[in-house]
């Protein structure tokens, strides 16, 4: 049988998914891998205090020093996750599915031949089949019921016994932890307080991100206006659109002077409180980033580059771009910081709190290397900590280094993962001078994270957000920084609930990817995304057209904004500002007293 596959097998899952007799590429077929054990460190190479040994000595010592360790075939061959069923009656033999499958799950032998073991359940073939001839099913195997050794856990053990590696996965936490958004319900006006009709009443979603002053000093404001010859018009206070400023050129100088006099930090103006979270070039394709950049520019909001640098194609959207400074410091230079609208220091990520990241060398293509300003083909390693940040004081130092380098013109965000002590950490970050704190909950997405860390480390964003907002209010410093909630914001109602719990704005990542076609198959880390999102393979990248992509994301944001306005109307308020931290408008269902205490909400019915 001559089976033609659309791509040579370049990588195989190490879980023994191949048919019997096949040799998995890169496993038993390759030479055994050897690794020095920790105890041998230092005994290889040069003797202490002595000269450098000759090559033979070195090789001999190396052989003695290492522990044999190689990839094995698991004792039990696990079955495929999915099976692909092609309805031969419906199939028109167009071969489109075979060409579209980037996972080598479909071959061709005068008909479509499925290789179930390679299928990741991304539905690309299902979606492109003109006659709906393809069906993907869960592999129908009955397991003896076991709530302790679940299928996932047992198969993970088998996989690791074979590979000796850490389990890796993409996308956010998929385990059945409680989603607190789904236990919170929103109030509405009836009779005693009229609701507002958003179809004819203006609804204010505009949000300013940045440090706000402790108090409003009207005298300083008026004297600054006078100084800059800007006519005093009380109706226009705080509204740059109606400032009555005769000379546009005078405006930035006035803003700067006013900010300085009032102690207001630089601000970002959001027309809707939804921004796109950091997804770096490398984690996602350039076309995904282009879609994001154009979408936020059109919608009057912002996106974050992640730590992969800002590609020159995004320069037209620099005014709507937040650049990230992470522990790898990729692409960070004075130009990068000054070109952007704001700078985000990434300390942690909800999906993998406390650990760093590696962009594998094979993904560091020429374009990615030049965007990150690193050598081509070598690993892009982001260490777990920033090596210049070992304390809040050190964080303050980096914040102010960035402020100095941008001459205090850019807001500086600090992004942390939601962890147990998040309230105290956030307080420290605000006191360290950050203009915005981003809290990323443990259900947040990722391009690649160790599975066990993704699934077991961190806390939910809802609880973290409530705790942070409470703490900052108690300490009287809530105004000093904007709070941005992140980590699985799935709908406009999640946005509304987040804002009622105390967030100023939210970041969405996975939702934007879903808008572009993501089907949550969780294989982002393998770089073969059939939807062209989390891959750098040129033939796959083309599957996202930025010209269409930006409209998909912009539509999503427009739809959510409409729903948020409608919700404001039914709450009887006409400004998002009136909802911020207004937990009285939320009620809980099915939560414990402790959870309600942390969230600061009453049970439904009370």
């Amino acid at each position: 049988m001559s089976v033609i596959k659309n791509e040579p097998v370049t990588e195989q899952p190490a879980g023994g998914l191949l048919p019997t007799g096949a040799v998995p590429a890169g496993t038993t077929g390759s030479p055994p891998r050897r690794t020095a054990s920790p105890a041998d460190r230092g005994s290889v190479g040069v003797e202490r205090g002595g000269g450098v040994g000759n090559k033979e000595d070195l090789a001999k010592k190396t052989r003695q020093a290492v522990t044999p360790f190689r990839r094995m075939r698991p004792a039990v061959r696990t079955h495929p996750d999915f099976r692909v069923i092609v309805d031969e009656d419906k199939c028109t033999l167009c071969r489109f599915c075979v060409l579209q499958c980037s996972w080598d799950a479909l071959g061709w032998d005068d008909r479509v031949v499925p290789f179930d073991e390679n299928c990741v359940g991304c539905w690309r073939c299902v979606a492109v089949c003109p006659t709906y001839a393809i069906r993907i099913e869960q592999w129908p195997t009955m397991y003896r019921e076991n709530h302790n050794w679940t299928r996932f856990i047992a198969n993970s053990v088998r996989k690791q016994a074979g590979s000796g590696g850490k389990l890796l996965v993409g996308t956010g936490n998929d385990k059945p932890y409680p989603v607190y958004w789904d236990h919170l319900l929103i109030d509405a006006c009836q009779v005693t307080n009229p609701s507002i009709d958003p179809l004819r009443e203006p609804m204010e979603l505009r949000t300013y991100v940045g440090a706000k002053p402790d108090r409003v000093d009207l005298a300083a404001y008026l004297s600054a206006r006078e100084r800059h010859f800007i006519p005093t018009d009380h109706r226009s206070v705080g509204d740059p659109d109606r400032s009555g400023d005769p000379s546009a050129n005078g405006r930035p100088a006035f803003d700067r002077d006013l900010r300085r006099r009032l102690g207001i930090g630089p601000q970002l103006r959001l027309e809707t409180p939804i921004m796109i979270a950091a997804m770096s070039y490398g984690a996602v394709s350039l076309n995904v980033q282009k879609s994001c950049a154009r979408a936020v520019a059109e919608m009057g909001t912002y996106w974050c580059t992640g730590e992969g640098g800002m590609h020159p194609d995004h320069y037209p959207y620099a005014d709507h771009t937040i650049v990230q400074v992470a522990s790898g410091r990729f692409a960070v230079d004075a130009d990068y910081l000054n070109r952007a609208a704001a700078v985000e220091i990434k300390i942690g990520q909800g999906a993998k709190p406390g650990i760093g990241g590696h962009l594998p060398g094979e993904k560091v293509t020429a374009d990615i290397a030049s965007t990150r300003m690193i050598p081509e083909g070598s690993d892009a390693i982001s260490p777990a900590p920033h090596h210049d940040i070992y304390s809040i004081e050190d964080l303050r130092q980096l914040i102010f280094a960035i402020k100095e380098a941008t001459r205090y013109e850019k807001p500086v965000f600090v992004k942390i993962a939601a962890v147990h002590n998040v309230a105290a950490i956030a307080s420290g970050i605000v006191r360290a001078g950050a203009d915005a704190v981003v809290i990323d909950g443990f259900r947040g997405g990722t391009g690649a994270a160790p599975t066990m860390i993704r699934d077991h480390v961190g806390i939910p964003i809802e609880l973290a957000l409530a705790a942070v907002d409470d703490r900052l209010r108690q300490e009287g410093i809530r105004n000093r920084a904007t709070v941005i909630a992140s980590g699985s914001i799935r709908s406009s109602m999640d946005v509304v609930k987040a804002i009622a719990l105390g967030a100023d704005a939210v970041y969405v990542g996975t939702a934007a990817l879903i808008a572009l076609g993501c089907t949550l198959c969780q294989q982002c880390h393998r770089g073969r995304c059939a939807w062209g999102l989390t891959t750098q393979r040129p033939d796959l990248v083309k599957r996202v057209d930025p010209e269409e992509g930006w409209q998909l994301i912009a539509n999503l944001f427009k739809a959510w904004s409409g729903e948020i306005k409608e919700t404001l109307g039914l709450l009887g308020i006409n400004s998002l500002e009136s909802l911020r931290g207004n937990r009285e408008r939320l009620r809980a269902v099915g939560l414990s007293q402790a959870e309600m205490d942390i969230l600061g909400v009453k049970p439904a019915g009370r």
């Binding site: 190479g45 040069v46 230079d333 004075a334």
Partner: protein
């Protein structure tokens, strides 16, 4: 201390002197940025007393001469200027520097040269822990850090490009490396080796050159230790001559001791850690 009006003195065309005494770093840096923007080529700063971020993000071709002790993050994000410091630097000198030159006549603190992408840092004395961590290279940019004395632990950790030199020029006679006969346990830790523990851990690019011997027990397992080869010598010679010129030293004396090289085993040190 109240901020006083800056005392400026016009010494020569394109040369400005700033007295930093009692100035907050924000004011001092504003003066330096203003002077550079107004076309000053040489900025002489007197009485530097721990002000941070001097030269931060500066992108103009100026020479800044600092007299005193520079604070943390000297030359952070700097792109082009030359800073000559007659004194010691605190932590984070040349942090994420893109290009330019920092010449330090004294010692430097921790994380000197962290994440540098280009330019040169010459330290006459010694540096603290975590120096040269995650140094990178990019196209024609090759960052170089030369340490005249010794370095603390974690030197060149996660190093991805560039060159670090540790010279041990002032190793005391008691040091075994300097030929001393003191028992090892009586010698201060810094004298047992010019580098601290975990040198070159996780390195996946670039090279660390140590003048004399390296204790392999103190090096990360991702580094390969070998004598510097003939291929390395022209580069080493060029760097050492430049370094010696800056401090009025004899390059021949520096080069009289053979160098040991630490190079990465792999460009992908952690590639095999994962199962899919």
């Amino acid at each position: 201390m109240p901020v006083e009006a800056p005392r400026k003195r016009q010494a020569a065309a394109n040369e400005i002197t700033i007295d930093a005494e009692g100035l907050h770093y924000r004011d001092l840096n504003e003066l330096i940025h203003q002077a550079a923007a107004q076309g000053a080529r040489v900025i002489d700063v007197r009485n530097v007393n721990g002000q941070r971020y001097i030269g931060a993000g500066l992108r103009l071709p100026v020479t800044i001469r600092l007299h005193g002790t520079a604070g943390n993050d000297l030359g952070v994000f700097m792109d082009g200027p030359t800073i000559e410091l007659f004194g010691n630097a605190q932590d984070g000198a040349a942090n994420t520097m893109n290009s330019g030159r920092i010449i330090i006549h004294g010692d430097a603190g921790q994380i000197c040269g962290l994440s540098m992408r280009g330019g040169r840092v010459y330290v006459r004395g010694s540096v603290g822990y975590r120096s040269g961590i995650h140094m990178k290279g990019y196209q024609d940019k090759v960052p170089v850090v030369v340490i005249g004395g010794h370095a603390g632990s974690f030197l060149g950790e996660y190093m991805a490009g560039g060159r670090i030199y540790v010279l041990g020029l002032d190793a005391p006679a008691a040091c075994p490396l300097g030929g001393g006969k003191e028992p090892v346990w009586r010698v201060p830790e810094r004298c047992r080796s010019l580098t601290g523990r975990y040198t070159g851990t996780g390195m996946h690019g670039g090279a660390i050159y140590v003048r004399g011997q390296v204790d392999p027990a103190l090096c990360g397992r991702e580094a390969v230790i070998s004598p510097a080869t003939d291929d390395d010598l022209p580069v080493i010679r060029r760097d050492m001559e430049d370094y010696a010129r800056c401090f009025g030293l004899d390059a021949g004396y520096i080069l009289s001791v053979p160098f040991t090289r630490l190079a990465p085993k792999s460009h992908r040190p952690y590639g095999k850690n994962y199962a899919y």
